[in-house]
Every structure is written in C-alpha cells, then in structure tokens.
Amino acid sequence: MNISIQGLNKTYPNGNQALKDVNLEIKEGMFGLLGPNGAGKSSLIRILVSLMNPTSGKVMVNGKDAAKNRAYVRSMLGYLPQDFSFFSNLKTYEFLDYAAQLAGMSSRKKRNLAVDQLLEDVGLFDVRSRKASNLSGGMKRRLGIAQALINEPKIIIVDEPTTGLDPEERIRFRNLLARLGSKDVSIILSTHIVADISSICEHMALLNKGQIAFSGPPGELIRQAQGHVWSIYATEKEYLEVTQKYEVVATVMMKDGWKITVVADEVIGYEAEAVPPNLEHAYVYFVEHTLKKIIA
C-alpha cells in the first residue's frame, strides 16, 4: 500500500487557502497527522477520502491517480469523520450491516459474522439491537470506528477519533488500531491529541497552516527537541514572569512555588534543569519555537 500526495493545494471559494503544496508519502502502518486546529488536516483528509477535489496536485494510491480511479480508492477505504453523531432510524447492527453491504460484502453469512465480530471488538455486541441514535456518545464513536473497519479496508482514515472518549475507551481504541496497523493496511490518524500518535504511530506528519512542517518518525521530532525542554522551579513572584517569557508546556504546583515545564533554547535567571522531551514537548517546541523562528 502506497499513498503518495503530490503538490496538493486547496483553496476554498472564499479565498482561504487550506493546503499549500502538500507532499507526503504514506506506507503501510499507522500514520499520524498532527496539527493545531485549522491547520488543514480535515481538508487533506476530505481530499484523501474523495469527498472533495484538490485545487491542484494529486493523490496517487498504489500508483493510480485517486481522482481518476475513485471506484478503486473507495473500494479500499474505511473512514470515520470527525463528528459522527447523527444516525438514521436504524438499529446498531443494521447500521453496520448497511455499511458492510455498501463496502461490498454481498454474502449475508460472511456479513453477519463480520458484523458480530466487529461489534464484539468495539464492545457493542450487547447493544446490537438498540437504535444507533440511542447509543451514548462513546458508543456512537465506537460504532463509527466499527463501520470504518468493516470489510477489512486497506486504507483507514480516521479524523480526530478519540475526541469525546473516556481514557479507557481511548486506550481500547488505540489498541484496536495498533492491531490493524500490523497488517497490510495504511491507517491515517488525524488528530490534535499528541498522545494518540505518540503511542502508536510509526510515522507522522505535522501540518501547520496548510503546510507540512515536519514529516518523519515521531522519534525524530522528539530528537530535535532534545535539550530544549526545561523544568523551572519558580516562586510565587516569578511565576507570572516565567509564563510570560517562555512557552509553557506544563505547570505543577509545589509546596513552595511552581514547577513549570517550558520549551526554550536556554533558560537564564531561574532555577532550571533540562528534562528529556516527549512527543508533546517536541510538538510544542516545533510549532511554537522552531516554526516561528523559521518564519521570523
């Protein structure tokens, strides 16, 4: 499986340029698409799932132009949109069955097995006969995931999948994706939650203001932030000063003051120690520090 995004641009009729010359190579496995809100993630995804045409550029899937081979691309696709809450008057299993038939599962027997299995996997088997519209928010999300996974798609694209899920569900979901990612499947995970990517993605891209700011393994992003993440121990007095001066990643209240984690090239005038960065630190460092510097 090889998805090649080449020189993709998208400008909306109102003049807003959502994507600027995006180039990406996506192979099998989990691929994380990270970026702040409004970075162009959803636009990129809508183009990838053939809901929208790019203004220019193209998406090649296994060497075929996706715009000219929609049937080919769509037949391999599983998609979970960002907001997935409105349901028609169908029962949970019916909804999944509907999706299964549209995904090309014509054999009733196979379909029934697959539907039951997926319902089991996402923990909805017990509520299979409940109307989809009566499921809780988390359950609806899981049903959304299930419909994206039905008939073993080769390309799974999920947009902000863990929004609204409780921690337990989030972990379950990540595990489910990770399991699929081990097969010959490309999973594109678009999110603004760094933890989603750090735990499961082998590759990632960072999208900022419509452009790819970084593309590579998450470790590479973390490596770039090495030595740029600091813990500052600040008194009550210094607290305000520090938060105004540096890019704050985390703040912990201590007995005699504050422990503030910041990203910066260096820290002068405060009691500080360098700490090993995680992906979240790396993301903030990259977006708020490196990029700003480049632009400046």
Partner: protein
C-alpha cells in the same frame, strides 16, 4: 450498480417505514378508504351505485384517494432525504463507499416509491375485500393493475423527481415544501383541466373512468400525460444525480446520467408537445369550422327528401354509401353539405356519373357543370370512409364547459360524444356521420339551424357478432347486414352497434325495451314481485304524463339503449333534444351508473330501511322503486348546487333523459326563418310550467333560475339575451319564460277553451313534417281572430315591462245558483307600460292554471268558484317586473258570506290597487329612504383563494343556518314589496350594524308605527327559537327603543311598534343586528296617521 442500488433502497425503506409521519399518513389514508368503502360500496352504506355498477370504479376510488395524499407526502419524504444528507455526517461514511451517485439517488427514490406502492397494495387489498363482499357487482382484476400503474406510479415518480431536483437546487427543505405545495395547489385549484389536463400531474382531474364497454374514454390523452410525467420525473431524478454534492464515482457514470436525464426530459417534452398539439387542434378546429360555416351560411342548399345510408363497420372506421334524393332550393351550380371532417369523401355521383366536389373541413361542396334551377330533383350518390373527429362535435359549446368537471361523482368520469371502436360504435347526429344539407353551427345567425324531416333508410353491415340499434323496425337482410325500416320521416338519425341484447315488455300496442350489453342485465331479477304488472305500471306512468301534457306518445316502441358511461350531450339553445334522444329511444349510460335510483335491488333494501316503510310489502317497495326510476324520464331539469365564494349556486340543466322531446320536438317542428327560437318557445308552452325548481333552490340561492331570467329580461330584450355571451345558463329559462308568457298571452287573447284542442289537432296534422309559422299564424287567426305576428316583433325586440299589484285574495263560502261554493276573489292592477298576462292557480294544484290578461294600466277583478276548499292561491307573474314571480297566499279561514248568485269571471275595475291605503306611509327596503351600514368582512386570503367570478345578481339566497356578515338583499313572497318583495338580512350580532329608514314627515302629528315582520324558516324547525327585533325611534319627546319579540307563535306581517308624535322633519328609524335569533331581516316600516 444493482446491488448497491438495492442495498440503499432496502435500508432507506426501513428508515421510512419507521417514520411516524409516514405511518400516520398510511393509517389515516387506509382508514379513510375503509370508511369510504363502507359508505359507498358496502351493504352498510350502499350509497353510490356507480362503484358497483362499473366495478373498476372501486379500485379507482381507492387509488384516487390515496394518490391525493401520497402526492403531497412524497414531497416531504423526498426533500427530507436530501435534508438529512445535508446535515448528517453519517452520510459521509456512505459517500466514501464505492458506489455511483446514480445508485445512491435512484436507490433512495426507489425506496420512497416502493413504500408508497406498498400502501397502494394495502389500499387495493382493502378495496378488493369490499369489492368481493359487495352485492350486484363483479371484480375487474385488470383495474387493480392499471389504476396504480397509471395514477400512482407516474404521480410518485414525477413528484419524487421534482422534489429531489428542487431540493438539490435550493437546498432548503421548508422552501422546497412551500414551493411544491404551491405548485400542487395550483394544479388542483387553478390549472385543473387547463390545456386538456396538461398540468394535472396527480391525475386528480383527468378522467380515468374505465367503461366496461369501451375502456378508457380518452386513452391517448391518458397514456401521453402519464408517460410524460413519468419521463419528467425520471429526468429530474437524473438531474438530481448530477447535482448531488458528492464527487462522482467516475466521469463515465456521470455521462450516462446526463444521457438519461436528457433522454427522459426530451421524452417528456416530446409527449407534452404532442399533447399540446392535439389540444391546440381541438381548440382551433371548432373555430375554423365556425368560420367556414359563417362563410358558407347562405350558400345554396338541397332540400333532402330521402336518404339511403349503407354503413359498413370496420374496426375504428366506417365506410358509407349514401344515396340522397332532394330538391335544389336555389338556382346554383354549387351546393353545400356538411359531414364530419374525419370522414374522407371518395366519390360523388349524380345519377351514376361522377361529379366534381370540394372538401373543406366539415363542408362538402358539390359542383355541377351547369346551373341547377331551383326546384330540380337531384339524385346524389356518394361514398365516404374514415373515422369521427370528436373535436368537430359541439363546436358551439364553450371549451370551458367541455372541460367542466361535473358534480356527479368524486372524480370526473369524462365526456365522450361518439364511439368508434372495434367492439362498439355510437354515432349521433352531432357526429355528422351522415351527410346533411347546409352548414352546421354558425355564430353569425341562428338561421343555420333548420330541421328537415327526411325519409331515412339505414342499412348496417356490422362486425360479426355485433347488433346495430337505431330507430325503426330492424330486419336481418343477410348475415351481419341489417335494415331499419321506418314508416315516418325523422329529423335525425343515430346508430349504436355493440354486443347488444334485448329485453322487452308489451303493454297495449306499445313495446318497452331495454337494449343492454351482454352480461349487463343486472336488472333482470330486480322486480320479482311485480313482474306481471310491470308493463301496466310503466304504461300507467306514461298515460299519466300524457294526460298532464295533453299529448300522445307518437311511437310504437320506447327503448332504453345502454351506452358507455362517458357519453355526454349538452343543452342547446336552439333545441331541447339532447343527443341521448332519438325517435323512440334514449341512450342511457352503462348500468345507469349516474344515479342510485338505478340500483334497483339496493333501492328496494333502502326503501325497506326507511322510516314508515317497515310495513310495506315487497311488492309496494318494488313499485316505489320502479316509479322512481320511471320518474327520471319525466323530470325536466337536473338541479345541483355548487359552492362559489360564500354563496351556494344552483346549476340547472335539461335532464338528458327527459322524454317530452318524444312528444313534440322529435316529431314536430314549428318552423320560422325569422324567429328560429319559436320552436322551443312553442315547446315550452306545450310542456307547461315545469320550470320552478324545488323550494330548496330558492332557499339556497334566493332566486330561482326563472326569477334570475326575469331579472335579465327586465334589462335586455329577448333578441339581445339570445346573443349574450354571459348568463348562458339562464337562456333556457328565458326561453321558457318568454314562451310561457307569449303563448299564455295568445291563449288569454283567444279566450277560448278550444285553444289547446285546436293546437293539438294542428300538431297531429303536421306530425313528422315542418310546420311553417306563417301557416300556423293564419290558422290561429282564422279560428280565434288573434294575429300572433302582430306582436311578435315587440315580444322579440322590446323589453316588455308589466308589473302587478294585487289586493289580498279572499276566499269565502257563497251561493252560486242554489249550490254552496267557495268563491276566491282578488283584484290586480297592471302598473307597467305594456300589456301582460298572469297565471293563477288554486292550491292544492288540481285545476288547470287560469290566465288573466291585463292591458297596461288596467285593473281587473277575478272571481273563481270551486267546490273544494282551497288552501291558498298562487299568482305566477311570468315575465314581469315582479320579484319573486310566484306569489302565494294562504287562506287561514274560509267564512260564510252573504253573497248570492256568485258568478265566475273577470271584470275590469276602474279603481286601481295602490300599495298604500290613505293615511299610510310605507318605506320599504327598496325605497331610497332605506340605508344599511356596510362592512367588508371577507378576508383578503379568502378573496385571493376564492375570487368571485363574474357579475353577481343583486339578490342572494336566504341561508338562515349560515347568515351573511353583511346586510344582504334577498327575496321572498312573504316580504313586503310593491313589486319586488325583498328584504336585507344579516347574521345576529352585537348591535353594531344597523338598517335605517330615513322617513320624511311632511305632516307633523301622531302616528302609529308598524314593522313588517318576516318569520324565517328556523321558526319552522326550531321549537325554542325566540328573540327580538330592536328598533330606535326618535320622536318629538325623545328617543324610544321599542322591540318586537318573536316566538314560534308570533304572527308575521305588519306588527305595531307603538304610536309616536313626529314633528315636520326627517326621522331615522333604525333596526340593529342585536338579537338572539339567527338573523335579522330589514324589510319595511309603515306609518299610519292617527286622527
């Protein structure tokens, strides 16, 4: 495509079936169909015969009802789909699946269509259950297929397509809904049958009645329109596919959709265009024909004496050999005939030699080489063949009337004037299927119409197995060839050919027959208990009628001939013969479906159920039912109501089955070139006054058609009215009224009991031939010394205004000779500018009407003597300035008087009758002293929705159960009025609306004041009705507010309001609308000067 299409349809159908909106609609519709079937079809209700008479009407009824609902609900459901697509993210997960946009849209459309078809199936099952349980009917299985196929599917496909398209474009469900409901309402209410039902997408107006004899009336129109709507619907759906906000699966798939969209839209446009073309032809042809008729109106003609017609029936065509023997009316080389333009003339020969001819639409102009002198005997032979163009029929009838939906049934069963099918043929003279001399209808002059009594000899070669029906003795000449022998000349010839069978009974020398289509003898066991007496009952009925009209039935046979249900004929000004009538026979729509009186078995059961009939024997009940059926042939007019604006309107038309025509118009003709209408005028005199509609007509409309005709006659001359475009519906009544007035006048002037006997002798002498008016006049002149022609011009061209004032009639017991008798006396003054005649009859109606002739300004006293106490007296002022023109007085008590030697007769009196006695001042609502407060209380919306068309008459009906919100003029002979007995009435209210009488007091002094009280019909049926009339009377010493309390027992007429002193001034007496009664009537105030 097919599997995704079906998947989408399957799940979307599931979603729809779970929608409460749809479920409620389905249940309600099915419930309504159930109730309707209970009422109309089942034994419980058993109301309308039409459904059981023609069984296809039962599934039609179910589908018709359902279709109205589904045509609207489908809009909502199909726009709802796109709305859901727009707002639901779930849609996106389907959009990314591998399927074509066509699968998606068509799948959804099919899901809607299929669930509606499911409801259709349930409705049809319901109908089938009722159908199989219903008595005296059968099941027409095909109808369960063709009605949903022709009505539901095109309707749904079109509306689903249109809704999807509109929603795809404007993407707002509310707006889509409003737009489409607007479109639906326009098609239902405004466009209706416009352009031959072109806009009737739901086949609400389109006649889709399926006759058991010939099937659909206008199959071409039906299939074209239904196919057109299906094409448009599919076209719109394919455009919706192109407009779907989803990237197409492939550009190839899109091209296919574009191709389909174009193909279906072009198909729809093509069919629509074909339909429009045919419609335009149907509109243009009559115009072109009239133009031609006008042009050739005075072209030379041949007076036909005998006509031999040999007609061969082919599938949808006829081939005719015609031999005409006639006399040229003028010196000419060319003569004009008319023949239906659908028939092609192949050859014309004179004495066996070919002769030149020219065909111009309906006209055939025969061209001789040399001038044929007037009076030359001409023998023409010709051959023509082809079909009948129905557009060439009834060219004088307005298109709107042709498309007017009749009130008979829930749906329009359609109109057909001629039939030419492989299994059935019906040709009336209107079809111009045989050659007639001269031109047809001309708008220039009524002189185009002339009746010729011709010796016809008809030979018919039918398709094997069919039987022809026409006037005369039918003899089978050879196999499938029949000859009709006639021993009298007739003025018109009709022919029906079908799978006819005959049942007949004989009474005296008369044969009563029914020619029915095989298996349609539903009546055969209808009267088991009176089978033996049936002929005598029928004959007795006929004899009673003969006595009533004082004429004898002229034929040896009277036959009822069954014809397809759509057969239609129109009222004409120049003749009262409907195309249903032919010498000795009447065409009757299949199984008499139009009236439940023709459901004999059902009628007997209904009779039994009715109150008071419980003890009647089967025999008595069957006689009642038979008599009701027979009454249909003796009833002059059909009266029906329709609601227009806030007002009920009455529609009157000549009953097409009315058989008076057999007694006069079919066998006699009073011919006048100058006044062609004279024949109808004379006919109306012979028929006598049958024109007064039932009492409910007056109550509903305020005026009978005759009174309205009288109103028109007060403003226009007879000649003008005959040429009027408006008030066409009143022309019959005007003719009746003028006819009755003219001949009553002649009879009154002749002043002889022998008048009618003399007339009858003349009619017998001139039977089956034309009777020139000049000869008629001469004979009257010789016998009675009355020259009719002297006052014909005035009668025709002047507004004749006579108006009458009556004294209160008195009935008293008197001595006449030695015998005690009842003397009824009254005086009457003709206050008009012209002579006039009134008809007087005593009730109960036993004696012949008495005529009273009055010169202008003359006063007469009339005395009538009768042996039996009359209950009242009725004056009919005929064509005059009096409204209403029937005035009735009841005699409460008949006392003994001292009069001896009383003698019947009339005498001229010097002193005229005045409205007011000396010392009395009367101020009526017709006087200038009367005023009302006027309010506009009709809402704008109502005005917009139901605009009142045309000009209205001043006087409206009296509807006490729903009185008007404004003061409204109405007439009634119980109101006060010098000539017009009218009042203004209004719904009871809060006292804010007043009627005022501004009375000038020329002589100050003390007056008794009276009000003319009218008791409306609510006093008749409501025992507890009571309430007051509240007046305000200003007088010299202040203002009084007297009231008149009314109860069931109060006396109507002049009622005292007290006595008052008035100074020399104008006083305003007012009456308010505040009362507990339903309505207040403002009529007249009377002041009587006290000594």
């Amino acid at each position: 495509m097919s599997s995704t299409f079906l998947t989408i349809a399957k799940y979307e159908r599931k979603i729809l079936l779970r929608s409460w909106f749809f479920r409620i609609f389905s249940v309600l519709t099915l419930f309504m169909i159930f109730i309707f079937n209970m009422a109309e079809v089942s034994e419980v209700g058993n109301r309308t015969w039409a459904y059981r008479a023609v069984p296809s009407n039962m599934p039609y009824l179910a589908i018709y009802f359902l279709n109205i609902g589904q045509a609207i609900i489908a809009v909502f459901l199909s726009s709802e789909f796109i709305k859901r697509d727009k707002q639901q993210d779930t849609t996106e997960v389907f959009y990314v699946r591998s399927m074509s946009n066509a699968s998606y849209v068509l799948g959804k459309a099919w899901s809607i269509l299929s669930i509606f078809l499911l409801v259709n199936l349930l409705a049809l099952i319901l109908s089938l259950i009722f159908n199989s349980l219903a008595k005296d009917t059968s099941i027409e299985w095909e109808a369960f297929l063709y009605y949903p196929l022709l009505i539901s599917i095109p309707t749904l496909v079109f509306i689903i397509g249109l809704s999807s398209l509109v929603m795809s474009i404007i993407r707002n469900q509310a707006l889509t809904f409003v737009l489409l409901i607007g479109y639906i309402l326009s098609s239902l209410i405004y466009l209706k049958s416009s352009h031959n039902y072109l806009f009737d997408y739901m086949a609400f107006h389109l006649p889709m009645f399926h006759s058991q004899i010939i099937g659909f009336g206008n199959w071409e129109t039906i299939w074209t329109l239904r196919a057109m709507y299906s094409c448009f619907g599919l076209g719109f759906l394919f455009i919706s596919i192109l407009l779907l906000k989803r990237l197409p699966q492939s550009y190839f798939a899109n091209s296919i959709s574009t191709l389909f969209a174009l193909a279906f839209l072009s198909g729809g446009l093509f069919l629509g265009n074909q339909h429009l073309k045919r419609y335009n032809e149907s509109v243009d042809l009559p115009k072109q024909m009239i133009e031609l008729n006008n042009k050739y109106l005075s072209y030379p003609q041949i007076d036909i004496n005998s006509h031999e017609i040999t007609l061969s029936q082919a599938a949808a065509e006829i081939n005719v050999d015609s031999k005409i023997n006639g006399v040229s009316k003028e010196d000419s080389k060319e003569f004009v005939f008319n023949l239906n333009p659908g028939l092609k003339v192949n050859s014309v020969q004179i004495d066996g030699k070919p002769i030149a001819f020219e065909r111009k639409l309906q006209l055939l102009i025969i061209k001789f080489d040399t001038i044929i002198p007037k009076g030359t005997l001409v023998n023409l032979q010709m051959n023509y063949a082809g079909s009948i163009d129905e557009n060439a029929m009834y060219i004088d009838i307005d298109q709107n009337l042709k498309f007017k939906r009749p009130n008979d049934f829930i749906y329009d069963i359609g109109k057909k004037y001629a039939y030419l099918h492989a299994q059935y043929l019906l040709l009336t003279p209107e079809a111009q299927w045989y050659l007639q001399s001269g031109v047809g209808y001309s708008s220039l002059s009524p002189s185009w119409y002339h009746k010729d009594f011709i010796d016809y000899q008809l030979t018919v070669k039918t398709i094997p197995g069919l039987t022809p029906i026409s006037t005369g003795q039918m003899k089978e000449k050879e196999e499938n060839t029949y000859v009709f022998e006639l021993d009298f000349a007739i003025s018109q010839l009709s022919l029906a050919i079908g799978n006819y069978q005959k049942k007949s009974v004989k009474a005296d020398s008369l044969e009563f027959s029914v020619y029915y289509i095989a298996d349609h003898d539903y009546f055969k066991d209808a009267f088991p208990d009176i089978r033996d007496t049936l002929p005598s009952i029928i004959l007795e009925h006929l004899n009673d009628y003969e006595r009533k009209i004082d004429l004898k039935y002229p034929f040896k046979e009277f036959a009822i001939v069954e014809v397809p249900g759509q057969f239609k004929s129109y009222d004409r000004t120049f003749t009262s013969i409907h195309q249903n009538n032919q010498a000795g026979l009447v065409y009757f729509p299949e199984k008499g479906l139009f009236s439940r009186d023709n459901d004999f078995n059902g009628s007997v059961k209904r009779q039994k159920r009715w109150n008071g009939n419980g003890n009647k024997t089967q025999e008595e009940l069957q006689i009642t039912v038979l008599n009701r059926f027979l009454d249909m042939f003796y009833r002059f007019k059909d009266v029906s109501t329709n609601n227009r604006g806030q007002q009920n309107n009455i529609e009157e038309s000549i009953n097409p089955y009315y058989q008076f025509v057999q007694f006069y118009e079919i066998c006699n003709n009073l011919e006048s070139e100058k006044w062609p209408v004279l024949n109808r005028v004379f006919e109306s005199y012979l028929r006598g006054s049958q024109n007064e509609g039932p009492e409910w007509v007056r109550r509903n409309t305020g005026s009978t058609q005759n009174e309205l005709a009288n109103m028109v006659l007060q403003e226009k001359t007879f000649a003008e009215i005959l040429n009027l475009k408006e008030n066409q519906e009143l022309i019959d009544n005007v003719i009746e009224l003028k006819g009755e007035t003219l001949f009553s006048m002649i009879e009154a002037k002749a002043n002889s009991d022998q008048f009618r006997i003399f007339i009858n002798d003349l009619l017998a002498e001139t039977q089956f031939q034309n009777f020139p008016f000049e000869v008629f006049n001469e004979k009257i002149k010789q016998k009675f010394g009355v020259d009719i022609s002297q006052f014909m011009d005035n009668w025709f061209n002047e507004i004749q205004q006579s108006q009458y004032r009556f004294s209160t009639p008195i009935a008293e017991k008197v001595l006449a000779g030695n015998k005690e008798m009842i003397q009824v006396s009254f005086k009457v003054t003709n206050d008009g500018s012209k002579e006039g005649v009134i008809k007087v009859s005593l009730t109960p109606d036993e004696n012949k009407d008495k005529l009273l002739y009055l010169e202008a300004g003359q006063t007469k006293e009339a005395i009538y003597l009768v042996t039996k106490e009359p209950t009242g007296i009725r004056f009919n002022t005929l064509s005059s300035g009096n409204l209403p023109n029937q005035i009735e007085y009841n005699f409460e008590q008949i006392n003994k008087s001292s009069i001896k030697n009383s003698k019947e007769g009339e005498s001229i009196v010097d002193a005229p009758i005045y409205a007011e006695n000396s010392g009395e001042l009367i101020f009526d609502n017709e006087s200038s002293a009367f005023e009302i407060t006027h309010y506009e209380e009709v809402s704008r919306l109502r005005k917009w929705l139901k605009p009142i068309e045309g000009e209205d008459f001043k006087y409206k009906g009296t509807q006490v159960w729903r009185p008007p919100l404004n003061w409204t003029a109405t007439t009634n002979d119980n109101f006060y009025g010098e000539f017009i007995r009218s009042a203004f009435y209004i719904k009871s209210g809060d006292g804010s609306k007043f009627a005022k009488w501004k009375i000038p007091i020329s002589e100050p002094g003390h007056y008794d004041v009276f009000y003319h009280v009218y008791k409306d019909e609510s006093f008749g049926w409501d025992r507890d009705v009571r309430g007051s009339y509240q007046f305000t009377i200003p007088h010299q010493n202040g203002t009084d507010r007297p009231t008149i309390e009314l109860t069931k027992n109060s006396q109507p007429g002049w009622t005292s309001l007290g006595d008052y002193t008035f100074s020399a001034d104008t006083i305003t007496i007012s009456l308010s609308n505040e009362t507990k009664l339903r309505a207040i009537f403002a009529d007249a105030i009377k002041l009587v000067k006290m000594e």
